[in-house]
């Protein structure tokens, strides 16, 4: 069976703490996600998401504090706007919008985090392995090496 690779960007103050709670509560959930702790969901640059996809992630999950709860006041609103806009860009690139998911999970919501991981893993499993123009479309099969700029 296809096991999706998932990269999760989780903000330190809420979702990562929620993931911690899921662990300390010994909840069982899909192990496909690799969690990366960031200070705020707004630290996720769309470039990070592209890198993740380009380097083999089948799905990217971004987790932040609930609206109004961001430790930096309005970081998560920026995240929301970026992801909404970025979904439109990804669609034009021919990527399914289901591969990128933004959710709000608080430090108390360990159970919600576990459920979301199960759900998102199944969602990506249904979409199948990622196909990218950068790897499949070029005449050279596409290397990701870029020229260095000074």
């Amino acid at each position: 069976m296809f096991e999706p690779k998932i990269v999760c960007f989780l903000c330190k103050w809420c979702t990562y703490a929620g993931a911690d709670l899921a662990g300390t509560s010994r909840l069982e959930y899909a192990p496909n996600g690799v969690n990366i702790r960031i200070m705020c969901s707004s630290r996720v640059d769309p470039e990070h998401i592209l890198w993740a996809f380009d380097r083999g992630a089948d799905g990217v999950f971004v987790g932040g504090c609930h609206p109004g709860d961001c430790h930096y006041q309005d970081g998560n609103y920026k995240t929301l706007r970026r992801i909404e806009l970025f979904q439109r860009v990804l669609k034009q690139f021919g990527l399914e919008n289901g591969r990128l998911r933004l959710e709000w999970v608080s430090a108390a919501e360990g159970r919600k985090f576990a459920q979301l991981m199960d759900e998102f893993t199944e969602q990506i499993r249904a979409l199948g392995p990622i196909k990218l123009g950068s790897r499949k479309g070029g005449q050279d099969g596409g290397s990701t090496k870029k020229e260095e700029t000074s």
Partner: protein
């Protein structure tokens, strides 16, 4: 001192880069005083076999403009790499794919269908399409192969320097030529003829805190000439674009379209634009956010206008 041997070539390009060489003005005389032009199809009568006959590495400098979209472009890129000591990707198309690179939202079939079939002015009942080989009574005619994907020069061959711009400005071009004539070359792989900051740093307009409630298209309004265009709701890519152009478009009330490519340390210009616009759109509810985003009809067209092949994803997925 022997004159430097210089070649200029155009691949998938519009010809604007050729004109930009002439933009150096009277300095063209200084240029030809130090350089002998050995190939320049736009201006002088040389043939491909003249280049093929040159010893490898015998051209000191090739300024190569245009993207790589056909087998002919690719052949010439490889030929000039072999024949040249220094190969420069000159202009946005060679550096990042440029406007021709926007073709990466579709593929060969999509383009042919449009061009030879569905355009309103096309009548092609027999469905004739270009062929790489055609038999005629006189023999066989050949055309280059048209690829699905437009590539940058550096995705095709090793490149020494990159000069951004659509087209590069005359002053910057002269700086580059001067450096080469004086054998004063920067580190291999550098972007030359441009700055290290963004167009906003060169832009003379006053800038305040940005909060955008609505986007307007530039032809529908007369912008205030002294205030940041973005603050007026006009999409301007200056914040995610390398400086060096002198903010010329902005000074005539036109927004930056991003032709100098991403600033240093950024690979994906479009991703940075998404990031910045996300910060300044003034809405918190998903419905309102999406109502504002609906005013950007073609995000890839705006955000990757000059750099789709150079971007991380390079092209739309081919099914």
């Amino acid at each position: 001192m022997a004159k430097l041997k210089v070649a200029l070539y155009w691949a998938a390009s519009c010809g604007g880069c050729e004109i930009s060489i002439l933009d150096i003005g009277a300095k063209i005389l200084d240029f030809v005083a130090g350089a002998e032009i050995v190939f320049w199809p736009c201006a002088m009568d040389f043939k491909y076999h003249h280049v093929e006959a040159m010893p490898d590495g015998s051209i000191d400098l090739t300024l190569f403009n245009g993207a790589i979209r056909t087998s002919e472009n690719e052949y010439m890129a490889k030929l000039f790499r072999r024949k040249s000591k220094v190969l420069v990707a000159y202009g946005s198309c060679a550096y990042e794919g440029g406007i021709p690179g926007l073709a990466n939202v579709t593929d060969r079939e999509g383009i042919f269908k449009r061009v030879y079939d569905t355009t309103p002015s096309t009548k092609n009942p027999k469905g004739i399409r270009p062929q790489t080989k055609t038999k005629v009574p006189e023999g066989e005619l050949r055309l280059p192969e048209f690829y699905d994907t437009v590539k940058t020069l550096a995705q095709t061959v090793d490149v020494d320097y990159f000069v951004p711009g659509c087209p590069p400005t005359g002053e910057r071009t002269w700086e580059v030529l001067e450096a080469i004539l004086g054998n004063n070359l920067p580190e291999k792989g550098s972007v030359v003829g441009a700055g290290q900051k963004t167009v906003c740093d060169e832009c003379p307009r006053t800038k305040n805190e940005k909060k955008i409630k609505a986007f307007v298209r530039p032809h529908l309004v007369i912008p205030d000439p002294d205030v940041c265009l973005l603050e007026q709701g006009i999409f301007c890519a200056g914040f995610a674009t390398r400086d060096g152009c002198g903010a010329q478009c902005i000074q005539v009330n036109m927004p930056c379209r991003g032709c100098y490519g991403p600033p240093p340390k950024v690979i994906d210009q479009g991703a940075k634009i998404v990031s910045a616009l996300g910060s300044i759109i003034d809405a918190e509810e998903p419905e309102e956010i999406n109502r504002i985003l609906d005013q950007i009809p073609n995000p890839i067209g705006y955000f990757y206008r000059f750099g789709l092949p150079y971007s991380i994803l390079r092209r739309r997925v081919i099914k």
